[in-house]
């Protein structure tokens, strides 16, 4: 049966066909849809984990217990999961285990562009790198077999274009993979100094054996076309290279990329006069190939930063791109993402941006957009959870410097569960005094509405216990807590003023659902009138002062319907924030 699959759908299908029984992930672009698709298969226990470290640990446990298991994450998630992963590689597996990293050359929705192929080298793990959906599915099946054969978890590196591009996949049946019996084996599963030496020898020895696999597996192959130019390429860069050079080059396609097939590379080098190495981001293959004494051209010619798109390869190789039409720059205005109409973060950022003498430490989520105009309400942002611990550090440093400044940390509900709780524990344990605002929009928003430990449902849509954020805060000794409606600007303002003058750490929880959320029964009961009405402008009353524009709502437009008057478009969902800002009561419900 042939299907048009994204790489993510193909990864899920491959894992299912390979007989995977347990899978865990934390959502993150571009990896999110893998677990969402795997959850459609009844035979697989699929779970959103609170974070990537937890996902990999639970997957390691499932493997030790004897079933095939898969963990998925975006590239930065692997940093969180790195701790268990490195040692899981020492332990090896019982049921086959794959850890999938979705890297983001181009940083479409990420805070950095790290190249996770480095992790395969650092952790001594084998790595697959598919270049399209069919390869993704086929390699996934092979990855599970390889994991069991070599007693090692396998890294599987995808990139945004492979994750999100659709191509045809030949689907097959699920393999009948018997569960492995669990047998107690302390030297295998307990990495104490007495045993780690042997574990290490096995892991490093594996890598030697895997070189043989790499030289002979079907994922690494030569296409002989031309003697003048040979191209060594991995991932989607191979596809781009084929478009640009066609049959005017020979190719060595690298699909199993760690360890590299150095014998095969040397054979290829003997067939061609010049070698280009095309790999997105860092010169990893290039460095290893050069170290093996093979001449090649890589990052001296082709860009390291960003995607290695066909036009960039063409420009680097031939000095010019295809003929293109140049847009008129005067007719193009940037279109940065913005908080949606009805976003519950709007009222918060509107009031926060008015606080003077305040350092704001933000986090990873939709609310990172609070850094943009018109709010400009962010000073720093690093990674998930860093808002609270970063804010703690700022607060302590200001004390040491004898400087008086408000500190506000901003984090979302899912991000709080991910890694904000330990940060808040730091603030309470080390007696910090600053304000944390937890924007609880009742869902994991930015990645497209995944359930989380606070939302009341699990990945398969079954009811789940609700972890109450207020209770968690109390349990770690936060006593200054307020839960409020962020669309009520007076309440929001009062809470912020209260929070910044509290003695000791304070927490405000803004509780209102994401404007795009499909409301649960519990949401409908808790927020009975949410998103049921719109607002409009009374043109006779509007004085054109544009004060409402300061809320940064995309439903507002000035002077489009009537000259020098505001208008509210159909996209309004009735949060009412703009009407509270209007000095002449010209914005009216209904």
């Amino acid at each position: 049966m042939k299907k048009l699959f994204t790489g993510n759908e193909a990864a899920a299908r491959g894992a299912w066909e390979a007989g995977v029984k347990f899978a865990a992930a934390y959502p993150g672009t571009p990896s999110t849809e893998i677990l969402e698709n795997l959850a459609l298969y009844d035979e697989v226990q699929t779970e959103w984990a609170p974070n990537e470290k937890v996902a990999v640990e639970s997957v390691a446990g499932a493997s030790i217990a004897g079933v095939r298991s898969l963990a998925c994450m975006k590239h930065v998630g692997l940093n969180v999961a790195a701790d268990p992963m490195f040692t899981f590689a020492y332990l090896g597996v019982n049921g086959g285990s794959v850890i999938l990293t979705a890297d983001e050359p181009g940083m479409f929705s990420s805070q950095n562009e790290q190249d996770n192929r480095h992790y395969a080298r650092a952790a001594k793990m084998p790595m697959f790198e598919p270049s399209d959906s069919q390869e993704t599915k086929d390699m996934m099946i092979n990855a599970f077999d390889l994991s069991e054969e070599y007693d090692v978890p396998v890294l599987f590196r995808m990139t945004t274009r492979v994750d999100h591009s659709k191509s045809i996949v030949n689907c097959e049946d699920r393999k009948d993979v018997p569960d492995k019996p669990y047998e107690k084996n302390i030297p295998k599963y307990c990495p104490m100094p007495a045993f780690t030496g042997d574990m290490q020898k096995k892991l490093y020895g594996n890598l030697e054996k895997l070189k043989d696999f790499s030289n002979h597996c079907k994922w690494n192959y030569i296409e002989d076309n031309h003697k003048k130019l040979g191209i060594i390429a991995s991932g989607v860069a191979f596809r781009y290279a084929k478009e640009v050079f066609g049959n005017d080059a020979s190719y060595l396609k690298i699909g199993f990329s760690h360890p590299l097939p150095m014998d095969l590379i040397k054979v290829f080098a003997s067939k061609v006069e010049t070698i280009y190495v095309l790999e997105e981001n860092d010169p990893i293959m290039e460095t290893e190939i050069k170290a093996a004494g093979v001449q090649c051209i890589g990052k001296d010619k082709f860009p390291q930063m960003g995607e290695l798109l066909p036009e960039r390869i063409r420009l680097a190789a031939f000095g010019k791109t295809q003929e293109t039409i140049k847009p008129n720059p005067k007719a193009v205005v940037g279109r940065p993402p913005a908080l949606c109409a009805g976003c519950p973060h709007r009222g918060f950022f509107y009031e926060l941006s008015k606080l003077k003498n305040t350092m704001i430490f933000s986090d990873i989520g939709c609310y990172t957009l609070g850094a943009l105009a018109p709010y400009n309400a962010t000073d720093a942002c690093i990674c998930m959870g860093a808002s609270i611990s970063g804010g703690h550090g700022v607060s302590q440093a200001l004390k040491l410097k004898n400087e008086d400044m408000n500190v506000v940390s901003v984090i979302g509900d899912s991000t709080f569960f991910h890694s904000g709780i330990t940060s808040l524990l730091d603030a309470s344990y080390n007696k910090s005094s600053y304000l944390t605002v937890i924007l609880d929009n009742r869902i994991t928003g930015m990645t497209g509405h995944q359930q989380n430990p606070g939302s009341g449902y699990d990945l398969k849509g079954n009811k789940a216990p609700i972890s109450d954020i207020e209770n968690i805060c109390r349990a770690i000794n936060i006593t200054n807590i307020r839960t409020i409606d962020p669309n009520n600007l007076q309440e929001m303002k009062d809470a912020l003023e209260w929070g910044i003058q509290c003695d000791g750490p304070a927490v405000i929880i803004t509780r209102w659902p994401c404007a795009l959320k499909r409301l649960s029964e519990e949401d409908k009961q808790e927020f009975p009138e949410v998103f049921t009405q719109k607002y409009h402008v009374d043109m006779d009353k509007c004085i054109g002062c544009k004060k409402c524009i300061g809320t940064g709502c995309p439903s507002l437009e000035f002077g489009r319907v009537e000259d020098r008057k505001m208008n509210i478009t159909e996209s309004c969902v009735g949060c009412g924030v703009c009407s509270q800002v209007c000095p002449v009561d010209a914005i009216i419900k209904g």
């Binding site: 274009r161 989607v236 781009y240 497209g448 795009l516």
Partner: protein, 155 residues
């Protein structure tokens, strides 16, 4: 097919690229080689015009969505983008959003535009009524079938 998604719901610019043929290697279109661009919004046609091949076609929905810099008065939306586009390429302007509203549901804007590109690409002989019937909820089948015909009639 390749798409960059996620930002659309937050007012950002989103593009999808479709390539088909006897052999497709890259899922993305090389700049300067797209046969056709369909833009759901005027300014987005201009933003991506560098993808069009020199004699390619542009189909533009006559719709203006203000980005945040325009809403907050930091930038101006160009007063005649269609005129500027016409200087650069073969442009067909369609008021798909308004036609969709007239059909009773602005959400069929995309299917009107689909009808337009299907016609422009000479693919109107395909049984689109059946394809729609296979892919949309029952109560929306007829609406979408009317919408795709509307789009085809405009090119």
């Amino acid at each position: 097919m390749s798409e960059i998604h996620g930002m659309s719901q937050r007012g950002g610019s989103v593009s999808s690229q479709v390539r088909y043929g006897s052999e497709v290697q890259s899922p993305v279109i090389e700049a300067g080689t797209a046969d056709i661009i369909v833009a759901f919004e005027k300014m987005e046609a201009m933003r991506y015009i560098n993808y069009l091949k020199p004699n390619g076609k542009v189909i533009v929905n006559d719709k203006e969505i203000w980005p945040m810099p325009v809403i907050i008065g930091k930038a101006k939306y160009h007063s005649d983008i269609i005129g500027e586009l016409n200087k650069l390429a073969d442009v067909t302007v369609i008021n798909a959003s308004q036609l969709a509203e007239e059909l009773g549901n602005e959400k069929v804007t995309n299917v009107i535009l689909l009808g337009a590109i299907v016609k422009a690409m000479g693919l109107d002989h395909i049984d689109w009524d059946q394809i729609i019937a296979n892919n949309v909820k029952k109560k929306f089948i007829e609406l979408n079938q009317i919408a795709i015909k509307k789009g085809m009639d405009l090119v």
